[in-house]
């Protein structure tokens, strides 16, 4: 086995067990971008993840507290009633979104998005001799390591942008590079469009990153509840409703 694959397996084993830390998450992101379609790497990731999941069964199961199941079911159905869930499942045309490390078919699409982050990490980490990676990029790297994270690339000519989100979590990250400049006094603004055609919710504003660097923008929302995310160019500081056509759009498929 090559030294590179040995190193990849080492990272994957630690990651599967939950022992990975931010600097290595960045290295993992870089390696996944470089080896996104490697069958050996994919297999190792899947097998180690499966093993780690099964380790839990070495423990004796414990008695659930009285009422825990009922309380859980009540929370679930109050958030999203069973009949609403069924209606959503019945909607046609649902597509799976790319998810890092799942299958070779999605690896290429995912690698392109991860490479946005990996490029900045590689530059920052190596250029500074392994010194601190910016906090937002560390947070994104840690976020990308979660098994239930979804990645969707924005479409449009304004640059490379992607969104990483975990369904049910009120936290997502929009990140990108090589974005077109905006006029003085303007910024990019993120919008989240709900199902049913209602007005979009405001997201954060951000400036295009300098050439060669990556912008990472936290979004305090559950992106999986949107059908679409979009980016427009607006007055600096943002506006209450889009005043221009989106320059980048990302269809969100939550199931």
């Amino acid at each position: 086995m090559s030294n590179e694959h040995e190193r990849i397996e080492e990272l994957l084993s630690v990651r599967a067990l939950g022992g990975m830390e931010a600097p290595e998450l960045a290295e993992y992101a870089r390696i996944r971008a470089d080896h996104g379609d490697c069958e050996i790497c994919l297999r190792a990731e899947l097998e180690f993840d499966e093993i780690a999941g099964r380790l839990a069964f070495a423990l004796e199961p414990v008695e659930l507290p009285a009422g825990m199941e009922d309380a859980l079911a009540q929370r679930a159905t109050s958030e999203r009633p069973a009949d609403e869930v069924a209606a959503r499942r019945a909607a046609p045309g649902r597509e799976r979104v790319a998810r890092p490390g799942r299958t070779a078919r999605t690896a290429v699409a995912v690698a392109a998005a991860v490479a946005l982050v990996a490029g900045a990490f590689a530059g920052g980490y190596l250029a500074h001799g392994g010194a601190k990676v910016p906090a937002q990029q560390q947070a994104l790297a840690a976020y990308l390591a979660h098994p239930d994270v979804h990645l969707v690339q924005f479409q449009g000519k304004a640059g490379n942008l992607a969104v990483a989100f975990r369904p049910g979590q009120r936290q997502a990250f929009v990140f990108g590079a090589n974005l077109r400049g905006v006029p003085s006094g303007k910024q990019y603004e993120v919008w989240l469009f709900p199902p049913g055609g209602g007005a979009p919710a405001r997201g954060p504003t951000f400036d295009p990153p300098a050439p060669g660097s990556v912008v990472v923008v936290p979004v305090s929302a559950d992106a999986s509840r949107s059908v679409l995310m979009a980016v427009t160019v607006e007055r600096a500081g943002g506006v209450n409703a889009p005043t221009s056509n989106p320059v980048l759009t990302a269809p969100i498929r939550s199931d």
Binding site: A73, E79, Q169
Partner: protein, 208 residues
Amino acid sequence: MSTLVVDIVRVHEAPAAMSRPADLGDARDRDLIKRIGQGDEEAFRGLFGRYGPSALALAQRVLRQQALAEETVQEAFLSVWRNPAGYDAGRGSVRAWLMSTVHHRAVDQVRREEAQRRRAEQVVVDVDQADPAEAVVDELGLPQEREAVRRALEGLPAEQRQVIELMYFRGMSQSRISESLGLPLGTVKSRTLLAMRRLRAGLGWLRS
């Protein structure tokens, strides 16, 4: 046959999708996930009833805080209700996916609370010893799985089993393990990899 040769043979036999144990339990679990995707509350309760006790045991072990463990398990199962399509049948078993979801959330909590928690005051419970403070349920299921996993863990050299215990069951990062045991970080990494390779060989994979 050495572990390395087994690994090479396994890789060259591999189809694109990972093969995993073809057992009735997994087929039933996949059916539950499918039904949850159709809004079936009964299926959701069924999945929780089947794996909730193990999930709570894992969260308790990692977090050492009952209330936080319960909340972590609830959030993990809620994420399944919200997005059952998060499970990818081509990736592995439902039970492993579920437990990984719980474990990741528990470890996230550990990372956040590491500065405040007094881990040294916690009683260390060996993975092979029952905690008398925990009520042990009747064998509701998965005894064969538990036996297989324990046997695989027992087959590890002590130093590799120790790393698994600290990293997986205590939620410690590799750096913390390195500091705690006074070992070079590289040693921790290599022991982790060796342990996982042995577990992979020990737990085995059945072709479906």
